[in-house]
């Protein structure tokens, strides 16, 4: 039994009489402490799956279960302590008028958890930021530093599941690697489960145990890491995605 179970999920957006089926009948299971990737081109519905888990997308069919329990609307405080998300754009995901301290202590205040002083400092050092950044504003930080703050915020409530929505696509290549290594380290230290979205197979290959390839809102193919590395995919679409990013795979055997 998996920690996250998604069964036949469909998401349909309705606007002014038009229907857009963003996700159609996708099923997947993520085991505890597993790192699972969703990959596909823009508009393939991969981010929508994350938003559906968080209750921010209109689910029209299927079921999502976390730890065997079906999710209710609205998601309760228990959900917040279990599942958190890191957003794609670190320039848009931090409140521009709140200091880092306020941003990080807000989840503690919401859940009435004490000792926020020490916890904020610890959260900053855990993501590799100096404690002196605590009272700065987001505009005084670089993109990579902001994304570290966003990761620290997601971990404030000590969730077991982290949803990652293209966490590095807005960052420089060198900063990308740092943030990915940070995520890998945190996953090992805390035994986190990752559900990660990316359009970049190289990132997925570096981070994930299994990956689901998506196209036009449907699941195309599920691949284990070994299959991905050995290029053992069965569908033409997955192969074309693989070939587009094969030269940037971080696997040393494949390096030129």
């Amino acid at each position: 039994m998996g920690l996250i179970e998604i069964e036949n999920l469909s998401v349909t957006f309705r606007a002014k009489g038009r229907e857009v089926r963003a996700v159609e009948g996708v099923s997947l299971t993520v085991g505890e402490r597993e790192s699972y990737g969703l990959v596909g081109e823009s508009g393939s519905g991969k981010s929508t799956i994350l938003r559906a888990i968080c209750g921010m997308a209109p689910v029209t069919g299927g079921q999502i279960r976390i730890g065997g329990e079906a999710l209710r609307m609205p998601r309760g405080p228990g959900f917040s302590r279990r599942v958190q998300m890191v957003f794609q754009d670190p320039y848009a995901s931090l409140h521009p008028r709140h200091t880092i301290d306020r941003t990080l202590s807000e989840p503690l205040a919401i859940h009435r958890i004490g000792g926020s002083d020490a916890k904020v400092v610890k959260a900053l050092t855990d993501v590799g930021l100096p404690a002196s950044f605590r009272f700065r504003y987001p505009h005084q930080l670089s993109g990579g530093q902001r994304q570290r703050v966003a990761i620290a915020r997601a971990l404030m409530l000590e969730p077991s599941i982290l949803l990652l929505d293209e966490p590095t696509s807005a960052l420089d290549a060198s900063v990308q690697a740092e943030v990915l290594n940070l995520l890998t380290r945190l996953r090992e230290e805390r035994g986190l489960t990752f559900l990660m979205v990316s359009h970049d197979l190289a990132v997925i290959d570096h981070m994930c145990d299994r990956v689901l390839v998506m196209q036009h809102g449907r699941a195309v193919e599920e691949l284990a890491r070994d299959d991905l590395a050995a290029a053992r995919m069965t569908t033409a679409y997955a192969r074309s995605l693989f070939e587009a990013s094969a030269d940037r795979m971080l696997d040393p055997a494949k390096a030129p």
Partner: protein, 301 residues
């Protein structure tokens, strides 16, 4: 003194209190660099001082009439700004009038923007029928001419300063609600709101702690721009006998009573007019400076 400054400007403060005080100190430095804002601050500070110490500064009692000295021009010994049609000293009346003006401004500035912010952010955040109902109410209030609506309210509530303030506040909130709603619509779908919602925050916390700070700068600008209008509406109500009652020295009332001799004895209406002009200018300059200070992004690194 220098240790205090070092403590305040410490780039890595050790406590929340130090960080907050440091932020206020930096804000003060920023507003001090802005000369126009400082000019505004000086004018508003003077208004406060004059209102507080009016009995000590004023050369005459503002209510005592002396019909032998009526309509004296400015510069007359003993009456620096001249006298009005009842022989009352205009300078003393302006100094005392600062109290009433400040009282009206303060009450309106505290009530109307808060009400407008609340209605606008709630409408923008929830959307749907809440938005529709609140915005139609706002439209109805906006469609009425402000003075007429204030008149109707005062007619129901009865004349007096308190009711005039209430009437002005109840007619002044719709523009704030419109601004707040527009700002709310631009931020409600942003990732940082989604993030705090995902953390389990309730609507009240999101609106008050996360959306209102984004709306504040534009609302504050609007408040300072509206101050002149508020003084004039209060004057209009007084003129119609529904606001401040004569012989109270209120600037708007003084202008309307001076209207009758505008061409022969211009100073009766001009002097309080200059006072209104100066105070509105002060608020406008200060508001412009405050906007820069309230936005940490404009602070530079």
């Amino acid at each position: 003194m220098s240790t205090l400054r070092a403590w305040l400007t410490d780039p890595s403060p050790t406590s929340r209190r130090q960080a907050r005080l440091g932020q206020s100190y930096l804000a003060w430095l920023r507003i001090r660099r802005n000369r126009l804002a400082m000019a505004g601050l000086v004018i508003v500070g003077l208004l406060l001082l004059v209102a507080a110490f009016a009995p000590l500064i004023a050369p005459h009692d503002p209510l005592v009439q002396d019909l032998s000295r009526r309509l004296l021009p400015p510069g007359t010994p003993g009456n620096l700004l001249g006298t009005d049609d009842f022989g009352r000293d205009i300078l003393s009346r302006i100094l005392y009038g600062a109290r009433i003006t400040l009282y009206i401004i303060a009450l309106v500035a505290v009530t109307a923007p808060v009400l407008g912010l609340l209605i606008g952010t709630v409408a923008g955040y929830f959307g749907g029928w809440v938005d529709a109902v609140l915005m139609r109410i706002t439209d109805i209030f906006l469609a009425f001419p402000r003075l007429i609506l204030a008149l109707a309210l005062v007619a129901v509530l009865g004349p007096g300063i308190g009711n005039a303030v209430l009437a002005i506040a109840l007619t002044a909130w719709p523009p704030y609600a419109r601004i707040a709603r527009a700002e709310t619509l631009t931020v409600r779908n942003s990732d940082y709101i989604a993030a705090v919602r995902l953390q389990g925050a309730g609507a009240g916390r999101i609106i008050w702690g996360h959306i209102v700070p984004m709306c504040l700068p534009s609302v504050i600008i609007r408040v300072t721009l509206d101050m002149a209008g508020v003084i004039l509406i209060a004057a209009g109500l007084g003129f119609l006998g529904l606001g401040v009652q004569p012989p109270m020295p209120e600037w708007g009332l003084m202008i309307s009573s001076g209207r009758k001799f505008l061409f022969e004895q211009w100073w009766v209406a001009t002097m309080p007019g200059l006072a209104i002009f100066l105070v509105s200018l002060g608020f406008n300059l200060l508001g412009d400076g405050l906007r820069d200070v309230l936005d940490p992004r404009s602070a530079g690194k």
